[in-house]
């Protein structure tokens, strides 16, 4: 896996930034940009990185570095239009895709997903038309114009996705109407193709096929590599383990506006899974104690995948951020301001009359 990642990285040579880019990020690399762990240990064949935080100021554990994952960028191009975009994608990863459709018409807007088999954008429109029985366009604005003025419904293909065993490719159709004040940031906010995967080799293959289908050009987009997938059932086991371990540790404290001392389970669906533990016994644990707590958690959960991150924080929990008091307190002020003004004014008037 590492070797293949290196090859993938070498294929993407960082150069001076252009407007549109192909960006590749590997979430496992958060371990490279985070602080050194206090311990790296193996639990039932699973590697766990343990961090013990003294305080939360200037923390640099993985949870605080998740937005600093290195992004490898390569200058890329946008296709000429949606027809070309769908032609490229269908040639590279088709023909079996799921198309996202927006149907516009007198009754409003409706969204559908339709599984079709198409080798290019023309076939795509045709296959979808056979299913929905109305005109199909690749441009949303064109579809809306077609359906306006009582001309009946029309459909626009607004996206596609292709699901492989360990990889999903998402295609986001090119926007036709961009508000003027957003045009300068369009390269930041529009991603034509996104690939999410646990398999760097498959990603490499897909990128190569996309480039070939695009006539040697690199298509703009984003690749997110993550180390594993944790199923819903496994996440439920993690949650039950957290509940059980919280009871064993006795760390949970309840307050009117929140709770302290809980175990957080963060970002585990796609990994790396980040567990945040409170200090057991309210004091900063040594490495042995921290390891013992994490081993107990894994024992209770029966789930551990490499890499797993376990962070020990001086405080965990949750607090609501509604405000209970408006400053200044308004209801009492409203009640007293006017009468107070009247009373003082009356006193002054009375005093002045007395003086006369």
């Amino acid at each position: 896996m590492l070797g293949r990642l290196v090859v993938l990285v070498l294929l993407l040579i960082p150069v001076a930034s252009y407007a549109y880019m192909l960006k590749v990020e590997n979430l496992t690399a958060v371990l490279d940009v985070a602080a050194e762990p206090d311990l790296v240990t193996e639990i039932d064949g699973c590697r766990v990185y343990i961090y013990i935080l003294r305080d939360l100021n200037n923390a640099s554990t993985p949870l605080f570095r998740i937005d600093e994952v290195p992004v490898i960028k390569r200058p890329a191009a946008l296709p000429g239009g949606n027809e070309e975009l769908f032609d490229i994608v269908l040639k590279a990863v088709g023909p079996d895709v799921v198309a996202s459709i927006v149907v516009t018409g007198p009754g409003g807007e409706e969204r559908l997903e339709i599984s079709v088999s198409a080798r290019n954008s023309t076939e795509l429109k045709e296959r979808i038309r056979e299913v929905v029985g109305i005109p199909v366009f690749l441009d949303r604005e064109v579809a809306e114009k077609s359906s306006s003025n009582g001309r009946g419904k029309a459909a626009a293909v607004v996206g596609l996705y292709v699901q492989f065993r360990d990889t999903t490719v998402f295609v986001n159709s090119m926007p036709s109407r961009v508000p003027e004040h957003l045009r300068d940031i369009l390269p930041e906010i529009y991603t034509p193709v996104e690939i999410r995967s646990t398999n760097a080799t498959r990603v490499q293959q897909i990128l190569s096929r996309l480039e070939e289908a695009a006539g040697g050009r690199t298509l703009a987009g984003r690749v997110v590599l993550f180390p594993y997938v944790i199923s819903e059932e496994e996440q439920e086991r993690l949650r039950n383990a957290a509940i059980a371990l919280e009871r064993e540790l006795g760390t949970v404290r309840t307050y009117p506006d929140g709770v302290e001392g809980i175990i957080h389970i963060i970002g585990c669906g796609e990994g790396p899974c980040i567990l945040v533990f409170p200090y057991p016994n309210g004091t900063m644990p040594d490495v042995k104690t921290a390891e013992r707590v994490v081993r107990r958690f894994v024992e209770l959960a029966g789930v551990c995948k490499t890499p797993m991150v376990a962070e020990f924080w001086p405080r965990t929990g949750f607090e609501k951020i509604a405000s209970k008091q408006q400053l200044p307190p308004l209801e009492p002020l409203h009640v007293i301001i006017l009468p107070a003004l009247l009373v003082v004014t009356a006193l002054i008037i009375a005093a002045k009359r007395k003086r006369k």
Binding site: D67, R177, V178, H181, R196, I263, I265, G267, K320, A322
Partner: protein, 264 residues
Amino acid sequence: MPDPQIRAGKLIIVVVAIIAVATIVIAGLTDRENPVYPGVMIESKKPLWFIGGTYCSAGVPIITTAGKPGLLTASHCTDPSGFGNQVFQPWYDFWTGDKNYAGYSVDWGTDDPYFEVDRRKPDAAVWIVENRGVSNRVPLGYCWRTGTRDPVMGIVSDDRSSIELPNLRKVGYATGCTGTAQSVRLLYDERFSGRIYAVEISKLPVKEGDSGGLVFSITCVNGVCGIYAVGIVVGGFPKGSPTHVAIQSAGYALSYYGVRAYVG
């Protein structure tokens, strides 16, 4: 009354007048607004009319199946019934003819997403707006883009445990518009009911009063670029000095209540 007391009386009048002026807040999120829009201040969950309630912010604009407009807010900002079910905007005001009454909440959610036994319940409620209009336009003038009020165009999908978003912002009455132009990753926290994501607070500063406020991204989805609702602010962790903001997903909350986003 001798002269010193007259002077003292005048001083009192001046001080009281200054306090009165100080309570008159700057136009915008903490003003009586019509139509109301994402980020405006509300007061609800009042035990009785003369007891202060809970002050929060308005979030995602919605439309019910019956065509009633409203805004999502946090469930812990309101009550399912009783006087605390009523919503006042910006706050209950004894002196106004209608007391600033602005509707009521439909609150099937939870005030406590950690202890909630029914994990389906989000910390979200629907404010059905009455006595006011509803705008789905986000006042981007409070953000970096001066002068524009952009409509919410849709909802960000929440089917993943990590969501990368460009231009993540939030609008709430306590801190106005905060956020970042950088790409930010939201991570799902399994420990809470509903569907709650966490993001570093340095990327999305919040304070007491921002609960319920709209979290959004400026992005392009399905061929349309603009504001997409991510969710509502519901809290922070850890308790005390939060390092992360907790966001209840908009898609989940809207689906739970069977309402749709007020878009376009």
